[in-house]
Every structure is written in C-alpha cells, then in structure tokens.
Symmetry: C2
Subunit: 611 residues, 2 copies
C-alpha cells in the first residue's frame, strides 16, 4: 500500500490514470485517507456531481494483512445527499484485495464529457480502463455475473447499479462478498451517484500473484493478533450473539427497550417485531437449510461471522442475511412484518444499488404522505421497482427521505439530520444515539458513534438511555474511537470487545503498532480519531455547515414517543460542546482530560465550533 | 392600519383569531413588517411547513392611502424553498383593501390537526373563518369565481391553487387584480405552500364602508404625491417604455446585451427573442384587440400601467399580459418562441398557483436532463399540467429547479442561489445582478437589488455590466434602497425615476413623511433598508446560512457565456463585503460613507458577516 491510483475522467480522448507516491497521505488508511484527500483536494462548495468532486476508495491501514477483521473499505467524497463530507464503509473482498495490490487509495477525478461508462481493471501488471457499454443499465447482480464470466469468479468487484448510473442520492456502491455476490455496500450518502457521475460502472480487482502484506514486527503482530482474536471470541456480542443471529439479534432487544422506530418514527415498539427478529430469521434460515444458512463472514479474515444467506421457500438464493438496520428500515419502520418481503426488498436494493436505510426511511415517509398504507409490503416492493426503472416516482424515492421525498410530498415528519435518514434507533428512547445523529459530520449515522452499546446493551460502559446526562460525552468518546477504527480497516463490531475488555483494546493497539513498526498508544489512536473528525468538520464548515445543522428535526423535540412517552431532551447548548476535544475523557482504561463525567459545560469552544 | 390580525390554526375545535395592537411593530409596513415578525416570532430552524412557521401578509406603509403606486403587498415566512427568510411581493387589490380595513398585517399561525381547509372573511364588521371544503382542490380562477359569486365581484381575494394545497416549494399566493382575476402573485420561495400548510385556501377582503387612509399632513402629502406622479410620468421607463410594451420591453434590450439566459443558461442570446419581445407582444395584443389590450395597472392607484391582457386568436381571455420574467422563463430559457404557448403556461401557473420564474427554470433543467427537447412548447405545457395534477413528475417539478428537479434527475447545471431559481438575467453578462443573486437574503432574486438598471439600461447610474468593478457597491446600494421601497407599498418600478431624478426621490421622501407625520430624510430611508436587511440576514444566520451560501453555482464561474464569452468574476472576497454597511455610499444625491467607488475592500467586517 505504497501508492495511490488516480484516474482522471476528464482527459480529452478518454480516461487516463497515473500512479503516485503517497506523499502527505503516507500512513493513512480507510476513513483517515478518504477524509484527508477530500478535505485537501475537493472544493467544499463544489457540486457533488461535478468535475471537482472526487471519489476516494481506500482500504484500511491493516487491510491486506493477516490481521483479523481488517477487510473494511472506506469510500469518501462530497456527498450528494448531505452536501458535506462523506465516508461510507463496506465489507466484502475489495479492501483485502486492494491492500495486496498495494494501493492505499483509488481516486476517481474529473467527469467524462459525455455519458460514456467505463470499467477499470486492476491487477499485478497495472491498470486498464475499458468501455462499460456492455454492462450499462444492468443491476449489480447481472453486472457482476458478466464481469465474473469475463475476468474470473474469484476476483473482487466494486460496482454500481441503476441507481448510481442515474446519480440518485440514495445510490450505494456494491462490493462483492466471499461468494462473489454484490451484497456488501458502501451505502450511505449517495456515494454511488458520485461513482456514476464519474462514469465508472465497475472496478475489477485481481490480486493474483500478489502477496499478503507483511507486518514490520511479525512476531509481535502474530501474538497481538491472537490475543485480539481471542478477545473477540470470548465477548458475548461478537463471540455469541452475532454469529448465532447476525446483527438482527438487535430487533428484540431494541424493541423491548422501546427504541425501535415504527411507522416512520411514530412509536418505539412494533407489534410484529418478533416475526422479523434475528431469532425468527435464524429459525427460518435453518428450516430452509442450504449451504449458506451457517453464519458467514463478509470478507476474508473475519472471525465474527455475523452474516448468512437468505433463501426463499423453494430454497432459492434471495440475498445475504438481511442486517438489522435493513430489517428495521423495510420492516418495522414501514409496519411490515414479513421476512420474505424484507429479503426481497434487500435484494432489490442491492441489485439497483441503494442504501437500505435511506430507502426504508423514504418508504416510511411516502407511507406517511399517503402513497401506501403502513404494512403494505407489496406497495413497498412496487416502490423500489419504480426506483430501479427510474420513473418519476422512482427518481423521487431514490433521492432519499428528506432530500426529496419529504419535500415533494409536503411531509413535515422527516427523520433526517443533514438530509440523511436516521437508522434503526429512535433518538428519544436512545438519547446517546440522538447526539451522534445530530453532531456527526456524516448526517444521521449510527455507525459514527454507536451509543446504543452503553445506552441499551450495557457494552462499553453504561449511560442510561432515557436521560440527557452524559450523552454528549459518550457520543464524543465514541465518535473519536470510531473514526480511528474506521481507519484501520477493522470491522466496527470490534468496538464491543475493545470497549469492554482492556486487554483486547491493548491487543489492537499493539497489533497496529507491530504492523506499521511504530509503537502505538491508546492516546495516539484517539489523537488520530480527533484529527479525522476535525478534518471532516472543517470541510463541512467550509461547505456552509454550522451548529444549526447539528440538530434533530423539530418533531423529536415536540412529539413524545410511546411507550416511554418522552422527547429528545439533550439541549442545543450541550450538543454544541461535542467537538470540545479538551473535554475528552478517553476510552475505557485511558482516562485523560479534565472534565467531570456528565457535567454540563459552560459554552462551546471556538476552536472546532461552527458557531 | 393600527392593528394586527392573528389567526391561530392550532386551536382545539378549529381556528381562532384575535386582533392585537401593533406594539413593537408600529410604524412598519410591507417587508419591514413581514421580516420583523418572522425574525421575532419564528424559530429559525423550524420546519417551514410546521406549526412554528408563520405566514405574514402585510400591506405597505402607504397602502390604502391616495399615494400613487402604493398598492404592493408583502408576504413573509420561513421559505420551504430556500430554508431562509422570505418576502414575496405582489400587486393586485389586496394591499389597498387591507390598508383601508385597517390591518397592518394578517399573521397565520399554527397548523390544523387534520387536512381541513378554511377561508377567512374580513370586512368592516370583523372576521369570520369558514370551511373551504367547497373550493378544495380548485385552481385559483375557479376558486375566485366561486368566492366572487358568494361574496361579491368587487372584493379582493388572496388565494392558493392546487400547488399551495399540495405544499409545493414553487407554490405562489394569488392576489386578484382590478378585474378580479387571480393574476398577481406573491410568487417566490413557496409562500403558497406555507399558506397551504396553515390550511387557509382563501382570504376574502371586503372594504365596503371603509375610508381611504388619511395622511397626517394632507396638503404637504397632496403636493408631494403630485410631484412624485409627475416624476413617474416624465421618466422614459415608467412614462413611456412600460406603458407601451409592459415589462416585456426588456426582452430585446437584454437579448441585445447578451444577458438573456437561453437553453438553461447556456447562451446569452436567443434566436427567437424578437418573436416574444414586448414589441411583438404589444402588436399581437393590439391586433387581437379587446377592451383589455390597453395598458392597465395591477392595482388602484397605479399610474405606470405596465400591464395588459392577453387574448387568444379567437379573442378569448387567456391571461394578463405575461411579464418579462415569465416570457423569459417559459420562453427563451426553454427555447420556446411562441407567445401563445407562453401565455398558456402563464395562465396555468396562475391557476395552479405557481411561481413562473421557478417553473420556467425548472422546465429548463428538466429539458437539460433530457425529459424534452429545448423548444418543445407542448412538452412544457404537459409538464405544467402534471404539476397541477400532482403526479410524481408534477410533484418533482412543482418543488422547483434545485430543491428537487436538479437533484432528482442528477443535473449539475442548476441555476439557483440558496435553492431559488435565477430570473431572467445571466449573471455573467450582468455581473451586478449576479452579486444581488449571490448575496440577497432571499436567494436568487432580481427584485432584491435590480443592478440591471445601472449595468444595462443606464438607469440609476452606470456601472459596466461585464466587469466586476463596482458591482458589489452597486448591489449593496440597491438592496438597501429596495428593502426600504418594499416597505412602503410602492411598486418597485418607482426605483427608475427616483434613482435618476433627485426631485422625484425627494418627492417620495416628503410623501412618506407627510403621510406618517414625521419628517423623513434620505438617510432615514436608507437606515430603514439596512435595518431590514440586517434583520433578515440575522434570521438566515440563525437558520444555518453562512457566507458559503452567498455563492453562484460553479458553472457560472467555469463556463463562458456567449456572445461575450465571459464568466462571473466578482471574487468571493468581494461578495463577502456586501453587508459592510459602513461602506455604504448612499443613493444618488445622498453621498455618505467613506469608501471610494469601486475600491476593493480588504476584508469583511464581523458585524454582519456570516463568516
């Protein structure tokens, strides 16, 4: 990973490329890399679909190595959905393969003069760029099938479906999984639209003949990796719950906690939750059998294996085991309690290349607008079909919940922050995640600082979910830690054991240090997290964001959520202190800073403030 | 005009109202009133369609008096299109009638619990609020027809069409003209959607039995009014050009200057301009005859009379004489050179209740997206029909050029500022209007500071149109003067004579002073303008706007505009000095301030800066 691949789509006569040294980007991976490139090279006020925006695809710092869980890929750009900086994270095979190919980032620049589409083929011998006219207009499944027939079954593919070609703000970028299916998506913020605007339909990654990346200190690395893996296996979430039931193990938990947004965030509990829970899903998958019903990883090197395969009644493959957020978005949020319908919607989203969270939230808003009844699964399927076809209704829905659908249908209750749809946790019943939604540089994003752990699950400490006290500090700590983790290539689920088990946290710190040949400390990891967030926030500020954008929609402050019948009540003054780094107290076992837990700070500090 | 009418749509059991004293709003009219109420009473981050937004309808300070040209109405709210403060200005009868009824403002507050629609009837005896179920879903023409049959032909009506009921961001509010037709619109920023969200379909204004408002100093007032009217009659624009050809006299002028945006702002000249010019339009109207072909005013007290009536080939009424911006928006911008088609589009916009500028710009973007060929008039008619029906495509288009249509169809070239579509002057060939577009609190709005005068027409001074020098100062001066004029109830066209003829300017200042019984000076008028703009800008800042929103879209800085082949080249640093009031040099004959004409200032001043 000692080079950058820059592909310029504006060159007269067709796309060109060059391979650059890392320069100032040396030592960066994942989100650190994508956000650094965007912040340094993209004019913050540019049009997201214009020539000046860039799409940066970066494996993590440890991707391509033997480090467990290190196969996550970061995709960055200025987001067409939020208008701010974006890092969307995906599993799948691409990160490990890019790592072995030696590319720390692929940067797509410029814009073709016409609407030509291209594919980029990268292998040990270099790069070729070819016309993608033969796969234009195809969904991700058909695209990958054609590419696999041409280039090989074992390769990694990064593709967009129809939504990306149509430059929809909910368009994702698909990454093939271990079964060479396009089921892993950099979902959020419309990254697929930017790839579409660049005129790139597919990136073919072939690491044949490339070696695994070597750590600087192999012995230390090996020992730390072993300790790290042990920590994952012994933790209840990553060692038991997730392998058994997948991420959808959360449905019953969040529903019981009253934080499961139902009927477009009208209620915190869903009557049909038990019918679409991880337990019900696992039972159904086991009943239907098939080789894929065992738990699977999404990339080589995964040892949590929270995924699986969803087959229909006739044992035909439908999609990968739908994730919790997908099941929620297309399920409870829309009042749909049928796993077969949800799986079909998931498959269609993956095929057209759409963010399942954005689409589920969008259908919820459409149902609120009266386009269909809550609970009408066939109507939801028809809506997603419209998106794939690009009809006017489909164009509306495919551009997301707030950015378009809410406005088009005159709906006030649109669950978004910075125009990005909220995921599967109601901020009134899980106040910590509400702080993350409000303050994240990404827009509403549970993965930016998963306060659900300490709020609900009792992981990574305990901060009562229904009260405002301590939520800002919690969200600050988690956002810092997350930004750092997102840079390593590590799956975010390692957060459960590392926040609970100091020895696993230490193992990860040592693992990174042993790989790069530079001793790491807990403090240097958190400094990295702060630096990334600062970089992102400065970009957003330069793009026109202020603290006024760090707010939840009015209705979360006015409407009470059953069954707890509470509103979101972290004050704006508290929200505005999130970026006060000097109040950072550190992760577990790394107690730094000078503020008292839960104390309400007096005023935001100008340094990182958008005031 | 010594009272406010507040109508609360949230009251349990149905709408309620109360009449309040003016309190801190005493002495305010028009835009000063609407912006003061919005700034003081509406939470800047609220949802524009939510309960917390308010719709303020205010006649000008002189409305209802004998002052010439004083019948303009201001409508204010937080805009669903821009997300910022909005004042949209309309002619028609309502301002004069409201003035005589004694209401300095009608303030619509709250939101009905269901989708009930109401009408408000106001006469000398007071206020009644009734169900509008009988006119639900009707266009403005049918609405007014039914209301006139019930309440009287001679009344003034303020109504919304289907677009407002559907809460579209391009929805206008219609005001009936002297012929009791709904042809005068508070067009910009989606004010009609806010009226729709409040559940008000119509306001019936009946001033029978009410007297004209009396000036404090009748003799002085009468003399000043006479001098003012003489000034209007002797000026070439208001005394000759506008009465003869209407506002559409500009088509040939702007086209010859190379600043006529054609084919979605791709060129600065339109081949078909002469076929849709004011001259061609007047000839056609005269040829077709009919009583309305003579020039008309839009309200009692108008002496410019820039309007007329458009009849079809069979001498049937179609619409009022389409304005320049309408002819441009539906004409040259879309490559359409047929006045009959343009008149049909104007009629449909008026009937559905749509801003003609926003709709023309939107169709231009849709044509750029490939939905129709430039020049296809029937396609444009079909698109507006879709809006009226509220089909998905219609919902997209009815929500405006940027806010939706550009994003939905993935178009980069969207001519908007703060999400509001640009009017009929290309900012590359008329750089001063580009500064107004960029910096106005309203989004792109030619009426906020009509730099076209000094840039192109040689009115109100002369600043060369193609160079950046002096444009910021020009736009600053004009925006200050305009905000003040918009508060008097005066038609903005009085700006031509008052900026050119010191004696007419003085007559207006004396006229206002004689009416309110407090001597006015040129300086007090401009202080009023500054105060209004400051108020509006502070609201926008609190809503999340920064100087990054005071920018034109990238393509105006990158793409050259034929025939001059230039880009917009006023720098961002210059734009950011617009609100430096201490650099204000004053209107003609009122030379104040300390800056040298055209000098480039060093840095913005923090006071009114959004930096």
């Amino acid at each position: 990973m000692d080079k950058l691949l820059r592909i310029n789509m504006s060159t007269p006569g067709g796309p060109s490329f060059q391979t650059d040294a890392l320069g100032t980007y040396a030592g960066m991976g994942g989100r650190a890399m994508t956000s650094a490139v965007i912040a340094a090279e993209v004019p913050p006020t540019c049009h997201p679909l214009g020539e000046a925006n860039k799409l940066v695809i970066a494996p993590g710092l440890l991707s391509g190595s033997a480090a467990a869980m290190s196969g996550r890929l970061s995709v960055g750009c200025k987001s067409p959905l939020t208008g701010g900086i974006k890092e969307a994270n995906a599993g799948g095979q691409a990160a490990q393969v890019m790592g072995r190919l030696g590319y720390a980032a692929i940067i797509l620049e410029g814009k073709p003069a016409d609407d030509s589409l291209y594919k980029v083929i990268i292998n040990k011998d270099g790069v070729t760029i070819e016309s993608a006219a033969d796969i234009k207009g195809l969904g991700n499944y058909a695209t990958v099938e054609k590419l696999a027939a041409q280039y090989g079954e074992k390769l990694a593919y990064i593709t967009i479906g129809q939504a990306g070609e149509m430059k929809m703000s909910a368009a994702s970028i698909a990454v093939t999984d271990m079964e060479a299916r396009p089921t892993r998506h950099a979902g959020r913020g419309g990254v697929g639209a930017v790839m579409g605007a660049k005129g790139i339909k597919a990136i073919v990654l072939d690491d044949a003949g490339c070696a695994m990346r070597k750590p600087a200190d192999p012995e230390k690395f090996k020992a730390a990796n072993k300790a790290f893996a042990e920590g994952l296996r012994k933790h209840a979430v990553t060692g038991e719950g997730m392998p058994a039931f997948g991420t959808n193990v959360l449905t019953n938990v969040i529903n019981e906690a009253g934080g499961y947004p139902t009927h477009n965030f009208k209620m915190g509990q869903f009557d049909g939750a038990s019918k679409i829970s991880g337990e019900a899903q696992a039972a159904l998958e086991n009943e239907r059998g098939g080789e894929g019903s065992a738990t699977q990883g999404c990339h080589r090197g995964c040892i949590i294996r929270c995924s699986g395969t969803f087959y229909d009644k006739n044992d035909n493959y439908v999609t990968k085991q739908p994730e919790y957020e997908t099941v929620w978005a297309h399920g409870g949020n829309c009042g749909i309690d049928d796993l077969d319908i949800i799986a079909q919607l998931d498959r269609m989203d993956d095929d057209f290349g759409l963010d399942t969270i954005e689409m589920g939230a969008t259908i919820g808003v459409a149902m609120e607008a009266g386009l269909a009844e809550f609970g009408d699964g066939q109507a939801a399927i028809n809506m997603i079909k419209e998106v794939g076809k690009g009809t006017p209704l489909g164009r509306i829905l495919g551009n997301g919940a707030a950015a378009v659908t809410g406005q088009v249908f005159g709906v006030e209750r649109v669950p978004v922050v910075k125009r990005q749809a909220m995921p599967a946790y109601d901020p009134r019943a899980v106040q910590g995640i509400g702080v993350t939604y409000a303050t994240s540089t990404m827009g509403a994003d549970h993965t930016a600082g998963y306060a659900v752990g300490p709020n609900i699950l009792g992981d990574g400490g305990s901060v009562p979910a229904l009260k405002p006290e301590g939520q800002v500090e919690l969200a600050r700590n988690l956002q810092i830690a997350t930004a750092a983790i997102d840079s390593t290539g590590m799956c975010l689920f390692v957060a459960f054991p590392i926040l609970d088990q100091p020895e696993t946290f230490n193992a990860l710190v040592v693992l990174i240090g042993a790989f790069i040949g530079q001793p790491m400390t807990a403090e240097s990891v958190t400094e990295l997290g702060k630096a990334i967030l600062t970089n992102e926030r400065e970009f957003n500020k330069a793009a026109g964001f202020t603290i006024k954008h760090d707010r939840l929609p009015d209705f979360f402050k006015k409407e009470t959520l059953p069954p707890h019948n509470i509103t979101f009540n972290v004050t704006e003054e508290e929200l505005d202190t999130l970026y006060n780094w000097q109040w950072y107290r550190g992760l577990k076992g790394e107690k730094k800073g000078h503020n008292t837990h839960g104390a309400t700070p007096a005023a935001p500090v100008a340094n990182h403030s958008l005031a």
